[in-house]
Symmetry: C2
Subunit: 133 residues, 2 copies
């Protein structure tokens, strides 16, 4: 077992998981990454235009689910969760690619984040290349 800590929280108008878009590029709204004060130094180089992956802890997910019908559609064949973006999985880490719009101290505004309000943030990493590596 490994221990993760929250480094911040998502602030968003999205509050109902059922209404949230399935992926950010399906029209996620702007949201704010609110980092804990002790993470100010870690976040200080997230400037406008930065393309980053935000890693979250999907606190409402089920951890005992090994396969799902993608997009909750029974017409989609049952698929092992490692081949899906299902929130339900052994370690419910969310991976969201977003663009930084503005940053001020521990508050970083981003575009296209589908996580709901209050979702814990566990890490942020830069996208290294245009193709998303």
């Amino acid at each position: 077992m490994f221990e993760l800590r929250a480094v911040g929280t998502v602030q968003s108008q999205l509050s109902d998981p059922a209404l949230a878009p399935r992926q950010g590029d399906e029209g996620g709204p702007e949201a704010v990454l609110v980092f804990d004060e002790d993470m100010l130094e870690a976040a200080r180089d997230l400037g406008p235009g930065s393309e980053v992956f935000v890693l979250t802890w999907l606190h409402l997910a089920r951890r005992d689910v090994l396969s799902v019908h993608p997009r909750d559609d029974p017409a989609n064949p049952l698929t092992g969760v490692f081949a899906t973006r299902s929130a339900d999985r052994a370690n419910p880490i969310g991976l969201h690619r977003v663009t930084v719009v503005a940053a001020e101290g521990t508050r970083v505004r981003v575009r296209d984040l589908e996580a709901i309000d209050g979702t814990p943030i566990v890490d942020v990493k830069p996208v290294l290349r245009p193709d998303g590596r």
Copy 2:
């Protein structure tokens, strides 16, 4: 605090972190994702050609580091870790984009994985679009 569990382990010829390439596209070798037996169902749809993100737990990292000189080069200015791929960070999760070469049960062979032998795997997710979302 959130608890992560290992779902498998990286099997690789890379054993010395100092010799490992910094990123997978700098020539990481083939490696095998060896999943725990209870993850067989979760891994069953990882077929040859699949582009996936492998999330690892970088067990040798330091968690108290907030800024680094990228690539350990003092000529690079000190940068907040959320704008770098440094292994040292509050939650040392590794994010590796790889291509599946072959899969047989709980053993999945991949191309371009820079993680060292024995690195715990915590999740696998599909790349959704060519640009890496």
